[in-house]
Symmetry: C2
Amino acid sequence: MRVEAVDFFYLSMPEVTTAADGSQDALLVRVAAGGHVGWGECEAAPLPSIAAFVCPMSHGACRPVSASVLGAQLNDPGDIAAISARVAHDSMDLLQAAHTLSGIEMALWDLLGKARDEPVWKLLGYTRSEPKIPYASLLFGDTPAETLERARKARSEGFRAMKFGWGPIGTGTAAYDAEHFDAAREGGGEDSHLMVDVGQIFGEDVEAAAARLPALVAARATWLEEPFSGHAFEAYAALGARSPTVGIAGGEAAHNVAMARHLMDFGRVKFIQIDCGRIGGIGPAHEVAQLAAARGVSYVNHTFTTHLALSASLQPFAGRAEDRICEYPADPCVLALRVAANPILRDAAGEIRAPEAPGLGITVDTEALQPYLVDTEIRVGGKLLYATPPLG
Amino acid sequence: MRVEAVDFFYLSMPEVTTAADGSQDALLVRVAAGGHVGWGECEAAPLPSIAAFVCPMSHGACRPVSASVLGAQLNDPGDIAAISARVAHDSMDLLQAAHTLSGIEMALWDLLGKARDEPVWKLLGYTRSEPKIPYASLLFGDTPAETLERARKARSEGFRAMKFGWGPIGTGTAAYDAEHFDAAREGGGEDSHLMVDVGQIFGEDVEAAAARLPALVAARATWLEEPFSGHAFEAYAALGARSPTVGIAGGEAAHNVAMARHLMDFGRVKFIQIDCGRIGGIGPAHEVAQLAAARGVSYVNHTFTTHLALSASLQPFAGRAEDRICEYPADPCVLALRVAANPILRDAAGEIRAPEAPGLGITVDTEALQPYLVDTEIRVGGKLLYATPPLG
């Protein structure tokens, strides 16, 4: 097979707010080859990501992503790796390329799996899809009372694990943050897994982050996620050295394997969290899962959006029984809920698995997405480089 | 003052080839505030960089760059740093943001310098602009004979330092590469500074790069530049340990200060090369220059395009007499030559300095650029988000 077409679909809620809710828009990718179709999703700004696919070449090391993908051979996983290597070299000066490639790469795996009638995790070499404990991924409330309420709701919905993120944490006093952590613990229940995500709020300020550790210890948090900016490896290591019980977690900002490796080797994180929609897709994420296993670091997916992204993000560690916890979008925007006609539901034990169906095992509900499609058009030098294609 | 307007101009040669010649297109930025105008240049893919400025917000941590810039206060260097900090946080999930910001940030410095009637290097705290030895930045020929000819030409033009990059190096045998290195040394003259740039050709393959070291030693190369991909710190360190006389150089891919710092601390490079058009502008580059000085690492600009970019890239180390060598675009496309009405010329000693004139000291020749302006239009959801503004 050869890659015949790559189509991008920019979807958005009618109103987008400044909340740290990444499910307010979405960039879906549809790839066609050999009579098959595959779907993927970039966890990225839609317009710049589309632009990185269609833009004119600037020079030999700044080619559009399309130049490495369209017409490429696609018969086995090695062909996908070859496409990724070509993008890394020929688009090395195009910063957005990794985000653009991520959704395409997922779609290539989905397509290859469908063509071979096998789930992607089998193509990756795993023999079975292990059960994972999904944690409800939620945002902190504006007040501790609101956080308590959200935690209780997640608990009532059967979640035994939950993560609270962003909100006011880090913007006021450590004592106020402690109230939120306590509320999350109280609402989630004494026996729940509790994780905390502070969205890079401390920049590279180790002391400010360390001031929150006692309250996180008291709330028995499993991890503190993204205390610092994605490249602040030294700060991650310094904080980790001061935190014996609360593991330091990070990695969602990694846009290549090396960044994730460095966060483990130089940043000494205990949990490495990879977003397949940013790191370049499933192949690089699988490589990170193997590096993590060799280092005794827990691999966790980063997924706050759709069940298409969720399936993709489960594949790289689907067969690793040791990595038990996975992120599960618990309260996304309605647009994100409409993407998958067959979402990944929890079983009687409250656990989930990467689907057994071929490819990513997700049916994209193109009909349900029509109202969210954002009409987009890009013209350069009198040529129409992009116009939203028909969906479905 | 407040930032009133930010305009992007996409310029391109009529034909763009796959040569590693980054001067085939350009993205200029014009900023207006308080009756003044400043100019900057992104060393980046124009269309995705424009898209990162005008795109709709995806969520609170994925806002367009414009959200942090338009209307922002601009009265002193601290205001520029505040804008950059806002972009780092509010656009953390927008990968292209750093490249987009780079040209804007330069323009902000240019504008502030003009408003204060001071060159940017004075605003950075330097008391004088030190002379630098400009090295002619050239591409290897397709054959050793062609490389010899290019080196002789540069020598005849008075260059006592030259760098050859890309071309066939690393794609054939080490013996063939040696012929090119020898030709460059022969053409450049026994007393010239010779540098070699291999454009990430070896990925993370230390052995392949090490195989070229003996020939580089024989040709008395000052440095070997970018043997590996920008994030391959471990490979940089491993090669450096095996190369006592030829310094390992890199850093042009750094899109934030931390990446450059890591290349020094983990990659142990001897020369750190910063492109102000990628790292986020002049402020972050100046921070790297200070980090380099503290570490005994030589700071070098990375500039392959225009004299606007050259002036910007000289500012961060303009006052550092210890860092003697600077990159100088020796044979760019005509488009790049037309940008500056008053290019930075070599003095009688063959040296250059960052201009004494206010701001970046470069007059952009808008009239000469008209034929290269690429008409661009972006529409999202029925709204015109970008249309090429009038130039001049």
